[in-house]
């Protein structure tokens, strides 16, 4: 899942970005309102984590502009302002959630994950696709009760496919949602990772769980064929 983290206080920006990346998110980072607006307009982020006090353009104005342009990206506001009017103003500007600083990173992560689930119209953090069971909260994957060891990138890829299980997912979708702005990756890398992932989740004697739809992309089967 791809996130935009807009936070101008470097220690917080650094640690939150690191934590989110380690949790399997592709994270773009900005410390300036104008720059963040440019990022948000150009990329299909799953969630934007937004600080309110920003140089360039303040968080609420940024949020209002995005909503005015019709962007549906889920936005989580993180701010030191905790008064009820501030929270109300934040939510009324179009935010989906509001977290007051200082916060525990675990809580931020859980809220971000919840917003991701909502992006894909899901409530249950447990996602099933055929024999695969993916716990998006604990970031664990198992096949037939047997836990699979995936790298962060592989997990991110599988999670994205599973959230859209049953749909055809294009390489561009994958590239945009699983890799951050500074990744060297091109969409060819997607094929490589699909290959890695298949080796880990497939059984030799069965057809691949991830089907290639020629010319369009990939599809993760919802139920066993």
């Amino acid at each position: 899942m791809r996130l935009l983290l807009v936070e101008d206080y470097p220690p917080l920006q650094k640690s939150v970005a690191q934590g989110l990346r380690e949790a399997g998110f592709a994270v773009d980072v900005s410390g300036d309102g104008q720059e963040a607006l440019w990022y948000a307009r150009g990329n299909p982020y799953d969630v934007i984590v937004l600080d309110l006090m920003l140089p360039g353009l303040d968080g609420l104005s940024l949020l209002r502009r995005l909503r005015a342009e019709g962007r549906q990206t889920h936005v989580l506001i993180i701010t030191a302002k905790d008064a009820v009017p501030d929270r109300v103003a934040g939510l009324n500007a179009g935010a989906d959630d509001y977290l007051v600083k200082p916060f525990e990173f675990e809580e931020l992560l859980a809220r971000v994950q919840a917003l991701v689930r909502r992006s894909y119209h899901r409530k249950d953090p447990l996602v099933s696709a055929g024999p695969l069971r993916i716990d998006t909260a604990a970031q664990r994957v198992s096949r037939d009760e047997e836990e699979l060891q995936l790298t962060a990138r592989e997990y991110a890829l599988l999670e994205y496919l599973s959230l859209r299980a049953g749909e055809v997912v294009t390489r561009t979708d994958i590239w945009e949602h699983v890799y951050d702005f500074h990744s060297e990756a091109t969409s060819n890398v997607v094929d490589v990772y699909i290959g890695h992932l298949r080796r880990k989740i497939d059984r030799n004697d069965e057809p691949s769980l991830i089907e290639t739809v020629r010319g369009r992309g990939y599809i993760l089967r919802k139920a066993s064929a």
Partner: protein
């Protein structure tokens, strides 16, 4: 006496008592005087009447005695006594009720009755009229017996006395009546006073209730002024002014506390997040080290902030005792620059210390050092990349002016006016990790004020400058 009500009540009742007492005394005296005068007038009349009735035919003197002579008035009030003396002091006659004694003999000028108090033979108090008068001659009657030598005017002395028991009891009765009336008036007066005082003090009670209803967490309430008596109105006005000042002070305090909490939240969030992320999994020593370094640098900035806050609070509550010593300004500027030159190097700022090495000013070294450190830190913070910072100093006879200027100012005049406010920053958002919370210049102004000087900010052609003026000790003493 602490109670206003008691004081008023005592005052009013006291004056009422005094008034009634004096008035009572006057009335009592007047009534007694009138009664005695009437009494005396009666005695005189009786004396004259009796005297007029004394006749002589030359040999006998015919006298009339009370009460026989005046039976009609005798019974009215008080028993009458009478006694006649001849010129040689012999008792000529006396009334029957004087059987066992005599009245004292006295008289005024001839024909003029003289009244004086006396004691009857039986010990009763009485008043008597003494009259010396010539005996009327009865020309037609032959002279029969002559006790009084004929041929020349014969005089008799007559004393008519009257028992004053009734008079005294009348006076007592009247006095009792007066006392009763006085006591009644007193009671009524006291009651009326109490009611009036109670009524007059009611606005004070209402005011007290209104004041009691004001809660310290909501000072926006004001006391109603319109319905108050004129005397209380100024009090209400002053109280309302006090409330307004308190509300302002409380609001400032609340804002300051909120600002502090808010400003502390961000670094705390940084620490929590850094530690939280690093603890999610086992990591290499290098990663732990880096995280700890990050936490330490955050904590260091927090320390600067709390130090500044503490210094501000201390200066507010009790001005630090100032030391006086000659301070070389240039050296102090160098020292202040040393603390932030590293940051200045990163931002590629140039620095010029244009203060003369000969300039020495008598002031508090620590305070001035803190001022310079904060001014330079602020300049380094807000100068444009590759900008210039310049410190100059000018000395006049009674003051020294030190100016710290930096390039890259984008502040408006309104913003310039606010740079000394606590927690004020031109950009509501932070520029970088420095956590510059807008306390530096507030502290500068506070310190300069405690040194008796002034601090002013100005901006011209993109250059922001803060000028601090410190008066000489002599000058300060003169102002103080």
């Amino acid at each position: 006496m602490k109670s206003l009500r008691a004081r008023l009540l005592v005052g009013m009742i006291g004056s009422l008592v005094l008034l009634l007492f004096v008035f009572g005394l006057v009335i009592d005296a007047a009534i007694e005087y009138m009664l005695v005068r009437e009494f005396d007038f009666y005695l005189e009349t009786v004396a004259r009447t009796l005297a007029a009735a004394v006749e002589t035919d030359g040999t006998h003197v015919e006298v009339k005695l009370v009460p026989e002579a005046l039976p009609d008035i005798q019974q009215a009030e008080g028993e009458l006594f009478s006694q006649y003396w001849t010129e040689d002091g012999a008792v000529l006659a006396k009334s029957a009720n004087l059987a066992h004694g005599d009245l004292p003999r006295f008289a005024g000028p001839i024909g003029q009755p003289q009244v004086q108090p006396l004691t009857l033979p039986d010990g009763r108090r009485a008043r008597g009229a003494g009259l010396r008068f010539p005996i009327n001659r009865r020309p037609r009657a032959p002279e029969r017996s002559l006790s009084v030598p004929p041929g020349r005017d014969a005089y008799l002395t007559l004393v008519v006395a009257r028992d004053t028991t009734d008079l005294a009891s009348h006076v007592r009765q009247l006095r009792g009546l007066l006392l009763a009336a006085g006591a009644g008036a007193m009671t009524a007066g006291a009651f009326v006073s109490w009611v009036v005082i109670q009524h007059s003090l009611r606005p004070l009670h209402r005011l007290a209730a209104a004041i009691a209803a004001i809660r310290e967490d909501d000072l926006s309430a004001r006391l109603p002024a319109a319905t108050r008596p004129r005397e209380i109105a100024p009090l209400v006005e002053r109280l309302n002014e006090l409330l307004e000042r308190l509300e302002d002070a409380f609001a400032r305090q609340r804002t300051l506390t909120a600002d502090i909490a808010h400003e502390l939240r961000t670094p705390v969030a940084g620490i929590l997040s850094t530690a939280g992320v690093i603890l999610t999994t086992d990591r290499s020593t290098a990663e732990y080290r880096e995280a700890l370094e990050d936490v330490r640098s955050i904590a260091r900035r927090m320390r600067i902030m709390t130090d500044n806050l503490l210094m501000l609070a201390r200066l507010d509550s009790q001005p630090a005792p100032l030391q006086r010593e000659p301070v070389p300004i240039r050296e102090l500027v160098e020292w202040g620059w040393h603390a932030c030159h590293e940051k200045a190097m990163i931002r590629r700022l140039s620095f010029q210390n244009a203060v003369s090495g000969a300039l020495v000013w008598e002031t508090d070294r620590n305070a001035l050092a803190m001022i310079m450190a904060n001014l330079l830190d602020n300049a380094v913070e807000y100068a444009n990349e590759s900008g210039r910072i310049r410190v100059t100093a000018n000395r006049s006879t009674d003051a020294v002016a030190i100016v710290v200027a930096n390039t890259g100012c984008e502040l408006t005049q309104d913003q310039i006016a606010r740079v000394f406010d606590r927690f004020w920053r031109a950009d509501a958002a932070r520029k970088d990790a420095s956590l510059h919370v807008g306390l530096g210049l507030a502290l500068v102004r506070r310190l300069v004020t405690s040194l008796g000087g002034t601090a002013n900010a100005a901006a011209a052609e993109g250059e922001f400058s803060v000028c601090i003026r410190l008066p000489s000790i002599e000058r300060r003493a003169a102002v103080d």
